[in-house]
């Protein structure tokens, strides 16, 4: 009788699992879907707020370099600070092993102060993130709840609107933002910078970042290759209204340097070591950083896949335009559809990542040769490098088209230069020309035509000027 009575009690206990509760934050259990699943097998409870010691470091245009600490337990710290109710508020939330005073977090604020007046709050949860990964992944829930609590204080005590709040989270920080967003009705925007994959990809929406967490959720994927065996830390899952996949979202240009070149970084050994460990993953915040100061340098093309994008099937921008990846993505927020949308673009290999996409179509003239063809554009804002357009048999009358990503927006295109070469000796000194070159910028429908009747020898530049009106018709 005693034994029989004990069994149901034991089962009840097993099903119930453990739970911890914290003032103002609610309760956190280690039941499904938070633990005990294939994706999150370990049963761990999040640490207490005191142990994590989350800090809210406020920077504003008035104090861009010295932060003011805002306390959840003492709203008067907000009142006494430079926080301005009339301004937008952006929270920047770091990820695993990172900290709120890391250079990139503070640099985010500084870049924003150059373009807007804003309350910039760095969420420092370094104690909760610099531990085992699984524990940090669980601490995300408490930090997210605390961010939500901070927003709630702003709403209740200062009559602030949650729609003016923007959460920017990198790696685990993206899921902190997701947790905060799911607890905050009417939150304006969340930007996920390469949300982390382990323990989150494939989980229910309540666990991870998802489109319902804010009015507008945009995500930048830069390390979306599978964790095993490619060590891709970021998720491939689409978790926003807009999901951007720069360079395909898996491998970033400039991240394939040999180990020595990667670690000995221009920005110092610490930055280089970080890049050596997680170069692709860290690019997401570098792109966002630069997008703040480059309002039109990260135009992203809606496309079904990166392969299609690279095959030039998604050019030019659709009629409603291309969203800008990063800071200005919300200018297209009204274009969110029921279906999540994928966007692709290419970036540079190193600082000054912004690129402007052009299509060049050219018709050959002169002799038939085998070789490669390069084109450079000259415009009101400057000129591009020589970009590879074609490789193979150059036949007069044949037309070839290709796209490339320029380092600058050349502005109004004034002329185009054509050059060909090959790697064999040409005893007959053949001459090749481009009868016509058509140039189109990604964000425009207009095509610009350039003509020439000349032909040139190898390694000689041919200049093409705008076609005469009769040619255009």
């Amino acid at each position: 009788m005693l034994i029989l009575w004990t069994i149901p009690l034991f089962l009840l206990g097993a099903a119930q699992g453990k739970e911890v509760c914290y003032d103002n934050l609610g309760c956190f259990s280690d039941a499904e879907p938070w633990a005990g699943t294939a994706i999150r097998p370990l049963k761990l409870l999040p640490w207490s707020p005191e142990k994590i010691n989350t800090r809210f470091l406020l920077y504003t245009n008035e104090n861009p370099t010295a932060f003011q600490t805002l306390q959840l337990s003492d709203p008067s710290t907000i009142e006494a600070s430079n926080f301005q109710v009339a301004r937008k508020t952006r929270f920047i939330i770091h990820g695993f092993i990172d900290k709120g005073e890391e250079n990139w977090v503070v640099d985010m604020c500084k870049n924003m102060f150059q373009v807007e007046e804003v309350n910039c709050i760095c969420v420092d949860w370094k104690r909760g993130s610099q531990t085992t990964y699984t524990q940090a992944a669980n601490n995300v829930r408490v930090v997210g709840a605390q961010v939500a609590q901070m927003i709630d204080i702003l709403v209740r005590n200062f009559n602030y609107s949650a729609s003016k709040v923007h959460l920017i989270g990198h790696s685990l920080g993206a899921h902190v933002a997701g947790e905060a967003g799911s607890r905050t009705p009417g939150l304006g925007r969340i930007t996920g910078l390469d949300p982390v994959e382990a323990n989150f990809e494939g989980t229910p929406e309540e666990v991870r970042l998802d489109p319902s967490d804010a009015d507008f959720v945009d995500v930048i994927h830069t390390d979306a290759a599978p964790l095993i065996p490619f060590l891709g830390f970021g998720t491939n899952q689409m978790v926003g209204h807009f999901d951007f996949f720069p360079n395909g979202g898996q491998y970033m240009p400039g991240c394939k340097k040999n180990a020595l070149s990667q670690i000995v970084d221009i920005d110092g050994i610490w930055s280089g070591t970080r890049d050596f460990v997680a170069c692709n993953h860290l690019r997401s915040y570098k792109y966002y950083l630069e997008s703040i100061l480059n309002p039109d340098g990260f135009a992203a093309y809606p496309c079904a896949s990166y392969r299609d994008f690279e095959s030039n099937k998604c050019f030019p921008c659709p009629d409603q335009g291309c969203p800008q990846m990063g800071h200005y993505a919300d200018k297209f927020a009204n274009n969110t559809s029921v279906e999540p949308q994928k966007f692709f673009l290419n970036t540079g290999e190193a600082k000054n990542f912004a690129r402007w996409r052009y299509r060049v179509s050219l018709t050959f003239s002169g002799r038939t040769v085998t070789g490669q063809v390069k084109v450079s554009l000259f415009g009101s804002n400057g000129n591009t490098r020589q970009c590879d357009i074609f490789r193979g048999i150059i036949k007069p009358g044949a037309t070839h088209s290709n796209e490339f990503d320029a380092k600058l927006d050349v502005g109004t295109i004034e002329k185009v230069k054509f050059l060909w070469n090959n790697h064999v000796v040409n005893p007959s000194f053949p001459k090749v020309g481009a009868a016509k070159i058509t140039v189109q910028k990604g964000e425009e429908r207009t095509e610009h035509n350039f003509c020439s009747e000349e032909t040139v020898r190898e390694d000689i530049l041919l200049t093409l000027l705008p076609c005469k009106t009769s040619d255009t018709m």
Binding site: I97, N258, V264, V277, R385
Partner: protein, 113 residues
């Protein structure tokens, strides 16, 4: 302390993964990789900012930007020009010795325009 350990662990994993297909250290270097001579670089320009600074493979100079003429040194403060361009600028013996004969990349055919 934990931070360093975790970072070390991830580093070891990354190294272990990198081992099967090691990236070259000597030849066919990509832009941004450390070099000692321009022949090592796919771009054919090994560039440093100071005589003692670390040199990296860099793309060649485009039209209207600063350049150096090609030299025997194999390492540059400014890269030589892209095809079809000439590095136009003042030259001096001292400049040749110190590799500081800078110029601007201009179209070799510019006189025809």
């Amino acid at each position: 302390m934990e931070k360093v350990l975790v970072l070390l662990l991830v580093s070891l994993l990354a190294v272990a993964y990198a081992a099967p297909g090691p990236r070259g250290l000597i030849i066919n270097l990509e832009d941004g990789e450390i070099c000692l001579n321009s022949m090592q670089c796919k771009s054919r320009c090994c560039q440093h900012d100071t005589i003692l600074g670390i040199a990296r493979c860099t793309h060649k100079a485009m039209e209207n930007s600063e350049c150096s003429p090609k030299t025997l040194y194999g390492i540059y403060y400014r890269c030589p020009c892209e095809r079809g361009l000439t590095c136009e600028g003042d030259r001096s013996i001292i400049g040749a010795i110190t590799n500081t004969n800078y110029g601007i990349c201009l179209d070799s055919r510019r006189s025809k325009q």
